[in-house]
Amino acid sequence: MGLIVGVTLVAAGVILFVMMPVLRGDWATLKSPDDEVTEVDARKQAALRGLRDAEYDFRSGKLDEADFQALKSDLARQALEAMEEEEVTASGHAADEGTPTDGAVKRSKGSAAKRAKGASSDADGDRLEAEIARVRKGMAEGRTCPGCGHLNVKESRFCTGCGERLAEVATTAGNPVSA
């Protein structure tokens, strides 16, 4: 007797649990905004990781200076592209909750490529430096920019919001990545 009760309970419970979503019209999420972000983020992280690895390889003498510079500008371009796409996607979401159009993405890629060429001294190069610094430090605490109030990551030399040079960071490190 106890067995029949037990089996019925289990069977009923399981069937109810399994069929409930269909009966009640509960839907599982089929898309999450993070999915698009993850793809671009993965590419960005890969490029930034590559940059960091390249720097270590150069410093430990595995890479020639010439090879290192070539690798660096290539990876910098990739990272910038990914970061551009990330921004477009984010603003696209905020504005109309849609994914960025192909055109917007293409445009961002093109401008990123152009900018990577002159990455040594302009604001985007600085942005890249800050991003690299951020990766190297890992996810650290924030640091507020006196100019725009943007919260930057610790020991950034430039504000990622407005590009303004932040207060001198008390670092004893020698040259960070030479541009």
């Binding site: 599982a28 089929l30 993070d34 993850t38 890479l63 996810m139």
Partner: protein, 685 residues
């Protein structure tokens, strides 16, 4: 409870099939309700299989010998934890155990992806439940139901084979199964990526940790098996190229290859088709491992029983999965084009690629050797077999090449390494390696292959140590940290890489141990109490074992036990005594079990085997005249390095798997709160 467990198994099948269908249809038609139902099915199947497993264990614990399975693997006197382990002691129960672990990992996969990777999940669930349903179908319809009953209950069961009555029984099979079943998750994600068309590196990033986890369990499971063999069954050996051993090694080899080749895809966007093929192959090999163990098709001391129905069912399943995957890969081929190509043979991509090819070469040759009797018999009618000599012969050069790669890989930069810098970086390690070879040669080691192994060992170790030093220095310089902090940050900020290097250290230790086998010593002697056996090790240690005699205590579940005692002197000084035994187990009296004694030292093991007692019956009765016995004494050189190396591999694996704060799995921006809820209410059409 037992009957509830049996019913649970029956209920699980329709639930599993429904869930699989709901997953695929829900994904295709974008019906979130079906997808949610499918995800619930995953949890439900897990719950039901817990009930089934509980039912089986209860049957063991209550000595319910009316169940065929319990009667075959248990008896009244069996210690409790072997009764619990009865779940995986035999073919039928181990199929349930497999299904249980698979459903556990499936639930974990669904749970951890409740709010991310949503485009994949419907298909992931579909694939996972399809595979689970396959196992359920086999359990219910292929004459392997663990709940099969006998016409009436025998008074007592047969008991568990004494060779299985040790603690390894509770560790080795579960660990291996965890490894096998965990690999189904990456496979499911790969298929989901193909089905959904999302073929960028995302599916790799998602499944990276699953692959590592599966690889980790497999590595540990295999090493546990080696230790079990060494401690109990192998008379000093630890690997016999037994078909079932080989079957567990194959997916580990391809999983190792996969762990390396995914890095190429992540960093350079290459080898996409290759990786799809590898993940499918590894999954198929895990199924092949079950197939080989269950079917008895190839003779092995491990095979449970000959059952040709099962053999065909598993073969058919493997065929279907292989075909399904091949079709999907072909369909999506345009999306799997490489973004880059190999620029130089002197690059890390190239080293990783060679690593892959060599590992696959090893896997292929092991598969070939294992199946050779079947193949030749099928083709020519005459079966031809190859044994350990073949496998050792073929895998030795492969092992050496892999060692060389473990040294070369870290030194080479991505894309294109400058030759000049390579030479500079290799100089010291090569010198160290040569010095080791030269030094050993002068000390009398003339075994060519062993010398090469030791030399490569030193070469790789030097390179890895230098890597750690250089990396720490570079980081300290760039970040302005002290060396200790720099080291800690170095490793924790790139756990995969440095964890991987630690794994390589462990593997090098294990290969070095293999080379030690060439120097093992052995003495066989028949002695009376008071007589001494001496043996000398290649390292110059002298062992004197003095036979004290036999005694016969009695333990649980044993009928008779004859314990031989040897007092041991090492280089003239007394050390720990050794005992070796012959034991008769209740219900298995025809096959006395031999228990060995081991004294482990850093560079060698002293290993004692009681080979034969002239008058075993008399010995069991403690008769004074029945003490004459034959012993085999071995010195096993460097064997401990397998276990030490295993620990290092485990440590490296844990470091590599350890989650970091702000890991790449979650997006680097804070999660939007709206993500999960929005479509749930809005999108119903």
């Amino acid at each position: 409870m037992i009957l509830l467990g049996e019913f649970a198994l029956w209920i699980a099948l329709p639930v599993g099939i429904w869930g699989a269908i709901a997953g695929f249809v829900g994904g295709r038609k974008e019906r979130g309700d079906l997808v949610l139902s499918a995800e619930h099915s995953v949890y439900a199947v897990f719950f039901l299989l817990i009930l089934t497993s509980a039912g089986i264990i209860t049957a063991f614990l209550t000595d319910s010998f009316e169940y065929w399975y319990v009667a075959n693997y248990s008896n009244r006197d069996l210690p409790t934890f072997y009764k619990v382990a009865g779940l995986w002691a035999g073919q039928r129960g181990s199929l349930v155990f497999w299904a249980l672990l698979l459903s556990f990992f499936s639930s974990a996969a669904v749970f951890t992806n409740r709010t991310k990777n949503r485009e994949f999940m419907p298909y992931v669930v579909g694939v996972l439940l399809s595979i689970s349903s396959f196992f359920l179908v086999v359990l219910l319809f292929a004459d392997v139901n663990p709940f099969e009953r006998l016409p009436f209950a025998p008074a007592d069961g047969r008991g568990l084979n004494p060779q299985l009555q040790n603690y390894w029984m509770t560790i080795h099979p579960p660990t291996l199964y965890l490894g096998f079943t965990a690999f189904t998750i990456p496979f499911a994600f790969a298929m989901a990526a193909l089905l959904s068309g999302k073929l960028d590196t995302r599916w790799l990033v998602i499944t990276r940790r699953w692959i590592l986890l599966s690889w980790f369990f497999l590595a540990n499971g295999i090493i546990f098996g080696m230790r079990w063999a060494y401690e109990m069954l192998g008379w000093g050996g630890f690997w016999f190229w037994d078909p079932v051993e080989n079957a567990s090694l194959l997916p580990w080899l391809t999983a190792t290859a996969f762990l390396h080749s995914i890095q190429i895809q992540e960093n350079r966007g290459m080898l996409k088709v290759w990786n799809m093929g590898l993940v499918t192959l590894t999954f198929l090999l895990t199924i092949f491992a079950t197939f080989l163990t269950r079917s008895g098709l190839i003779e092995s001391v491990h095979t449970f029983a000959e059952n040709t129905t099962i053999a065909f069912i598993f073969l058919a399943f493997m065929g279907v999965m292989a075909g399904f995957s091949a079709l999907l890969i072909t369909w999506r081929y345009p999306l799997l084009k490489s973004e880059n190509q190999i620029q130089s043979f002197l690059s890390r991509e190239s080293a990783f690629l060679f690593n892959n090819l060599i590992l696959l070469g090893a896997a292929f040759s092991i598969l070939w050797g294992t199946l050779f009797p079947l193949i030749t018999e099928g083709l020519t009618g005459q079966a031809i077999a190859v044994g350990p000599p073949f496998f050792n012969r073929v895998n030795l050069p492969i092992g050496l090449a892999l060692m060389a790669l473990m040294g070369i890989g870290p030194v080479i930069a991505w894309r294109r390494a400058s030759r000049r810098n390579l030479v500079k970086n290799f100089l010291m390690p090569v010198i160290v390696g040569s010095m080791v070879v030269g030094g050993l040669f002068l000390r009398g080691v003339h075994h060519g292959m062993a010398l090469l192994t030791f030399g490569l060992s030193a070469f790789v170790m030097t390179i890895i140590i230098v890597e750690f030093v250089k990396g720490t220095k570079a980081r300290a310089h760039i970040e302005g940290e002290g060396y200790l902090l720099a080291f800690y940050h170095l490793v924790s900020r790139n756990r995969r890489r440095w964890g991987g290097y630690i794994v390589h250290v462990g593997v090098v230790m294990i290969f070095t141990a293999f080379a030690g086998v060439a120097f093992n010593r052995e003495v066989v002697q028949t002695v009376d109490p008071g007589e001494t056996i001496t043996i000398e090790s290649p390292f110059g240690h002298e062992y004197a074992l003095t036979y004290q005699g036999l005694s016969s205590p009695r333990g649980q579940n044993m009928v008779r036990q004859a314990v031989a005692l040897m007092t041991v002197e090492r280089n003239g000084r007394p050390v720990e005594s050794l005992t070796a035994e012959k034991v008769l187990y209740f219900k298995w009296e025809q096959s006395p079990l031999t228990i060995v004694g081991i004294n482990s030292y850093v560079l060698e093991d002293l290993y004692l085997i009681l080979e034969n007692v002239n008058d075993l019956g008399g010995a069991f009765e403690n008769e004074a005249g029945a003490q004459r016995a034959t012993f085999k004494v071995q010195v096993n050189v460097l064997v401990g390095w397998i276990w030490y190396g295993g620990f290092v591999v485990t440590l490296g694996g844990i470091i590599a798997m350890w989650p970091s704060r702000g890991s790449t799995k979650t997006a680097s921006r804070p999660k939007t709160k709206t993500g999960g809820e929005r479509p749930a209410l809005a999108a119903r059409s």
